[in-house]
Symmetry: C2
Subunit: 240 residues, 2 copies
């Protein structure tokens, strides 16, 4: 496990912040979202307790919530781990997200005020710039900001919460199934076009745009059955 996120937390604690289970949930969600906690990462209760400066009771509550949200998986008497969904579940997550994010943008189209459009446009701009200077970490962050902004401003808040969860789960499976040689999963212009459709109030077009965007994203992943993914010849050919 990398130490970077642990150090950040320790800094927070020294600053005198009150840590509760909600705080821990948010920190872990954020770390997973930013792909700093890769799928499969062990999350022992005592370790987390020491990092956040609380006892296992508080950590346990946080882990229970994260498990409910499918961010981690827990099995009896075993350490919690960051979820590592199967190929099958990955496809399901994308299909679910297409359905729900499609509906959210359809509801949202034509109902964004000038200020909200401005904010979204700034995210789109920032994402493009990060991409052009090759800063993948920043690019992902801005891209996530766009989708989370849509989720947070869904007229149907219930669907918005569901979408937030699916965005997080999508991050996990991207980290898990990203093609080895793929530098970036940036889809040129998709976000800019979506924003334009939202501004013009073209709900159904926006729905289709988002769904196509997510399908394209899914196709960038390596979702072949596992046997065919590991090319023994290539591995040992190079090594020997």
């Amino acid at each position: 496990m990398s130490n970077t996120w642990q150090d950040e937390v320790l800094a927070d604690v020294k600053a005198g912040a009150r840590i509760n289970d909600r705080h821990i949930v948010d920190r872990i969600r954020q770390a997973v979202l930013m792909q700093r906690l890769p799928p499969g990462t062990r999350l022992p209760e005592v370790t987390l307790g020491e990092i956040f400066g609380v006892s296992r009771s508080v950590v346990r509550k946080a882990l229970t919530r994260l498990a409910s949200d499918h961010v981690i998986t827990q099995q009896p008497n075993q350490v919690a781990r960051v979820s590592a969904p199967s190929v099958e579940e990955t496809r399901e997550i994308f299909a679910a997200r297409r359905l729900i994010e499609g509906e959210v943008v359809a509801l949202l189209a034509g109902h964004l005020d000038r200020e909200q459009c401005r904010i979204l446009a700034s995210y789109v701009e920032a994402e493009q710039q990060a991409h052009q200077r090759g800063d993948e970490g920043q690019r992902i962050e801005h891209s996530l900001a766009i989708h989370h902004y849509l989720a947070d401003h869904s007229p149907n808040r219930t669907l918005g919460v569901m979408l937030s969860d699916l965005i997080l789960r999508t991050s996990i499976v991207i980290a898990l199934y990203k093609r080895a040689g793929m530098a970036s999963c940036y889809l040129e212009n998709d976000h800019a076009e979506l924003l334009s459709l939202l501004e013009r109030g073209e709900g159904e077009a926006a729905r289709r745009r988002v769904q196509a965007h997510l399908t394209a994203l899914e196709e960038l992943l390596d979702l072949r059955p596992q046997d065919t993914r590991i090319d023994l010849a290539a591995i040992f050919g190079e090594a020997g």
Copy 2:
């Protein structure tokens, strides 16, 4: 709080069943589903612990999970209560369920084998009979069995789980906003027609049928803003 469900649990415990947090979650979910735990019901940790024969630790874990699923609501330092969603949230829940259950039946259409159709047909039949003999409790149970069967057999399991949660939340808001004078929220033939469309593989028609069914169900509720719901004149006019 009524004692009926508590007695059932005590019987279970005497039978020697090992109780864990999952068990408690299921029992409470079931009780809420059957409208035996009305919205707003207090769920103190110690009381639940005594009923299920476990300590607060286990109860707490169960309550955390139930809160994540929006079955109960928890506020700091206050007793957990069965959720009582606002009118606004109720509309959102119905809209979300229309979207997701619509997709599930569209996916399911034409993919049910003969045995599965037979099982669904038996539920539909049982619901009709319960309605005819005026057994509302049994009717609700069979109706829920139909919808849960669809959720459990969703080709997309992720959407299926989401649908299960929404069915539960729908039960809660029906208990909360059921019109006073309304004997039953039974919609004649809806389920039978849906089954027929599923058998014939007409996915889009099945989607529309389910969505119309849920809209009709929502319209049977009293979702007026709260001020206009309480008719003071009627209350005191009758009393005096």
